[in-house]
C-alpha cells in the first residue's frame, strides 16, 4: 500500500464524521424547513423522471467564507442513482434564480460532483438555486433553496496563521533593526562572495578596465531586480572611491531609470557626485536574446575586469558567464533561480545562493540597521528549523505510539503552517 492511500486510524474520527454528517443534515433540513412555506410546495418535478432517477438531496447554500461578498457555496448529497461504473446519472445542471426572476443555467457538472461555487454575485441581490440530475432517460430536479445573498467579510480569518507567523518574523526583523539602531553589536558571519567585492573592484582599478554590472533580465516588479539594485548602491560607492569605469547595459527602461538614481546616490555618498554621468547605464532591449547578444558584445569589446551578474537570470546565465570567463573577468554572480545556480557555481568565481542575494546589500553596507534585518531573518530560519524538528518528531512519534498528545501536537504544527 502506498503512502497516499493511508487513512487516519483514530477511531474517534468515525463518530466525528457521523456527527458532522448528522449536523449537516440537520442544518440542511432546518434551512429547508424555514423556507417551506414559499418553496417546498411548489417543487416542480419532471413527471417522467420520477420513475427513472432520484434527485440530489440536502441542497444547501452557504456564504463563501472570507471574500468580499461575491460568492456562494452550494453543496448537496449526490443522487442515490449516482453510482460510479453503473453510471445512470450522466451529470448535473445547476440553475440560479436572481431576485425571483427567470431560472438561468449556471453550471454543467459531471457525475459525482457534490458542490458548486457561484462567483461574481452581488451583495444586493437574493439568489435561489436548484440542481437537476440528468440521465439518459430523463432528469430529476431538487428542491429550491431559500433566497440568500453573499456576505462580505472584513477580515480573512482563514489566514490568521499566515498573519501570526508573518507577524512574528516581521516583528523580529523590525526588532533587530531597532536594537541595532540603539547601538547593539551584531555578529554576521563572512559570506565569501561578498568579501570578494572590494577585491574585485580593486582589480578593475589596477587593470584600468571597466566593471560590468548586469541586474538580470526582469523588470522592477521582480524582487530579485530590487535586490540587485540594492547591491548596486554599495558597489557604486566603491566604484566612486576607486575611480573605475562602470558599465551597465539593462534590458528594461524602468530598471535603467532606477539604476541611474542608485548609482548617482552611491557616488554622492562617496563624495564624488561630479564623477557621475547618465551614460553609465544604458537601455538595450527587452528581448532576452537580443539583450544577451548586446552584453556579450560589450564583454568581448571592452574586456571588463570584473562582471557582476546579480538578479533574475534565465537561460542566458551560462552564455553570459562563459563569455565573461573567456575574456578573463572575475565574476561575482547571484540569483534566486535554482536552475541557473549550477552554471554560476561552475563558471563564476563567487556565487550568491538564493537567500544570500537578498542579504548581500545589508552585508555590504555593514550598517547596523541593515545587519539587524539579517538577524531577524535568522529568527525566521530558527522557527522553520524548530518547526521541522518538532513536526517531524511529533509526526513520527504519533504514528509509532499513537499518543494523543503527540497527535495534537502534530495537528498544531501542521495547522500553524497551513497558509491557505
Amino acid at each position: 500500500m502506498t503512502k497516499h492511500q493511508r487513512k487516519d486510524r483514530h477511531s474517534r474520527v468515525g463518530p466525528a464524521t457521523l456527527l458532522i454528517t448528522v449536523s449537516v443534515f440537520f442544518t440542511a433540513s432546518l434551512s429547508l424547513a424555514q423556507s417551506e412555506p414559499t418553496v417546498s410546495d411548489s417543487v416542480p418535478v419532471d413527471s417522467q423522471a420520477v420513475a427513472s432517477i432520484a434527485p440530489v438531496t440536502s441542497l444547501i447554500v452557504e456564504d463563501f467564507k472570507y471574500d468580499d461578498g461575491e460568492k456562494l457555496l452550494l453543496s448537496w448529497i449526490p443522487s442515490i442513482d449516482d453510482v460510479p461504473e453503473v453510471g445512470r446519472i450522466t451529470g448535473y445542471e445547476v440553475y440560479r434564480i436572481t431576485d425571483g426572476g427567470e431560472p438561468e443555467k449556471i453550471g454543467d457538472l459531471v457525475a459525482g460532483k457534490n458542490s458548486y461555487e457561484d462567483d461574481g454575485l452581488s451583495r444586493e441581490s437574493q439568489y435561489q438555486y436548484y440542481v437537476v440530475a440528468l440521465s439518459d432517460g430523463g432528469s430529476a430536479m431538487s428542491v429550491m433553496t431559500a433566497p440568500s445573498s453573499p456576505e462580505r467579510e472584513w477580515i480573512n480569518f482563514g489566514r490568521t496563521n499566515l498573519f501570526l507567523v508573518a507577524l512574528i518574523i516581521g516583528g523580529a526583523i523590525i526588532f533587530f533593526i531597532g536594537s541595532a539602531r540603539r547601538g547593539k553589536k551584531l555578529f554576521v558571519r563572512k559570506i565569501a562572495g561578498l568579501e570578494a567585492v572590494d577585491e574585485a573592484i580593486g582589480r578593475a582599478t589596477e587593470m584600468g578596465r571597466p566593471i560590468l554590472f548586469i541586474p538580470g533580465i526582469r523588470d522592477m516588479d521582480d524582487v530579485q531586480t530590487l535586490a540587485a539594485l540594492t547591491i548596486l548602491g554599495r558597489v557604486a560607492e566603491q566604484v566612486a572611491n576607486y575611480d573605475v569605469q562602470i558599465r551597465m547595459p539593462v534590458s528594461r527602461s524602468l530598471v535603467m531609470t532606477a539604476a541611474r538614481e542608485t548609482i548617482k546616490a552611491g557616488f554622492q555618498t562617496a563624495g564624488r557626485p561630479d564623477a557621475y554621468n547618465d551614460d553609465m547605464v544604458n537601455y538595450v532591449t527587452d528581448e532576452q536574446f537580443g539583450y544577451v547578444a548586446a552584453v556579450d558584445g560589450v564583454m568581448v569589446r571592452e574586456k571588463p575586469a570584473t562582471v557582476f551578474l546579480l538578479g533574475a537570470f534565465f537561460a542566458e546565465s551560462l552564455i553570459l558567464a562563459e563569455t565573461g570567463n573567456s575574456v578573463g573577468a572575475i565574476q561575482i554572480a547571484g540569483t534566486a533561480r535554482p536552475a541557473q545556480l549550477p552554471f554560476f557555481v561552475a563558471a563564476c568565481d563567487f556565487t550568491l545562493i538564493g537567500e544570500e542575494l537578498f542579504a548581500a546589500s545589508a552585508y555590504l553596507s555593514g550598517e547596523p540597521k541593515a545587519l539587524g534585518s539579517l538577524k531577524g531573518q535568522d529568527v525566521g530560519k530558527g522557527i522553520a528549523m524548530a518547526a521541522i524538528l518538532i513536526g517531524v518528531a511529533s509526526a513520527t512519534l504519533a504514528e509509532l505510539t499513537g499518543w494523543g498528545a503527540m497527535t495534537s501536537l502534530l495537528e498544531i504544527m501542521k495547522g500553524l503552517f497551513s497558509s491557505q
Partner: protein, 225 residues
C-alpha cells in the same frame, strides 16, 4: 522633500499591499498594481527607447569605433517601430492586429527576429559543452558531489544508464541508475530545493521590509537634484 515623499509612498503602498491579503474588500489591490505597473512601464519605454536612439545616434555622428553597427541597430529599431505603428502592409485597415498575417511586422518578426532569437538560444548547447570541458572540475569535495549527482542524472536519462546496471539482482533494483536518478531528484534534490526556497522566502521578507521601512533607499537617488 525630495526623498521624504517617495519614502512615504513606499511605506504606504508597501504596508497597504501587505495588509490587503488579510482584508477581503481590498484583496484585489494586487491585481490593480500589475495594471498600473504595465502602464508605467509603457511610459518608461519612451525613456529607454530614447536612450537607445541617443546613444547610437551619438556613436554614429562622432564616428566612434564600430559605428557601423549602430546603423544596423537604428535601422532595425525604426523599421520595426514604423511597421508596427503604421501597420505597414497589413491586410486590413489600421485597426487590424499588429501581427496579422502578411503585415511587414509579422514578416520581420517571423523571418528575422524569431530565427535570430532561436539561434542565440540554441548556442546554449555549445556553451554547455565548453563549460563541461572547462569548468566542471572536481576541485574540492563540494564540486565532486555536484559532479557525481550530475553524472547519475545524465546517465539515468539515457537508455545507457539502464543497461549499465541491468545485471543487478532485483533486490538491489534501487541502485539501478535510472532509479537512483529518480531518487536523487525526489529526495536529496528536494531537500536542497526546500532549503533554498525557504531561505529565499525569508530573504524576500527581510529585504522587502528593509525597502518598505526605508533602511534601503539608494534607488531613490541623491539628496540634491
Amino acid at each position: 522633500m525630495r526623498r521624504e515623499i517617495p519614502l512615504a509612498i513606499t511605506i504606504f503602498v508597501g504596508f497597504l499591499l501587505i495588509f490587503s491579503v488579510f482584508f477581503p474588500p481590498v484583496e484585489d489591490l494586487g491585481e490593480n498594481f500589475s495594471l498600473f505597473f504595465d502602464i508605467i512601464a509603457v511610459f518608461a519605454f519612451f525613456l529607454g527607447g530614447g536612450n537607445l536612439v541617443r546613444i547610437h545616434g551619438k556613436k554614429l555622428l562622432k564616428r566612434k569605433p564600430d559605428w557601423a553597427f549602430s546603423i544596423v541597430t537604428l535601422v532595425g529599431f525604426f523599421l520595426m517601430l514604423a511597421a508596427g505603428l503604421f501597420k505597414i502592409g497589413n491586410p486590413g485597415d489600421i485597426s487590424s492586429n499588429v501581427t496579422a498575417e502578411g503585415s511587414l511586422f509579422a514578416i520581420m518578426y517571423d523571418n528575422i527576429f524569431k530565427p535570430l532569437g532561436a539561434t542565440m538560444y540554441a548556442l546554449l548547447a555549445f556553451f554547455v559543452a565548453s563549460a563541461s570541458y572547462r569548468a566542471f572540475r572536481a576541485k574540492n569535495r563540494e564540486a565532486t558531489i555536484l559532479l557525481s549527482a550530475a553524472f547519475v542524472i545524465l546517465l539515468g536519462s539515457t537508455p545507457l544508464g539502464a543497461l549499465l546496471t541491468s545485471w543487478m539482482p532485483d533486490s538491489l533494483s534501487i541502485l539501478e541508475i535510472p532509479n537512483l536518478a529518480v531518487w536523487i531528484l525526489s529526495s536529496p534534490n528536494l531537500a536542497g530545493q526546500r532549503a533554498i526556497i525557504i531561505g529565499i522566502g525569508l530573504g524576500v521578507v527581510s529585504m522587502s521590509l528593509r525597502l518598505i521601512l526605508g533602511v534601503e533607499r539608494s534607488y531613490l537617488g541623491d539628496e540634491g537634484a
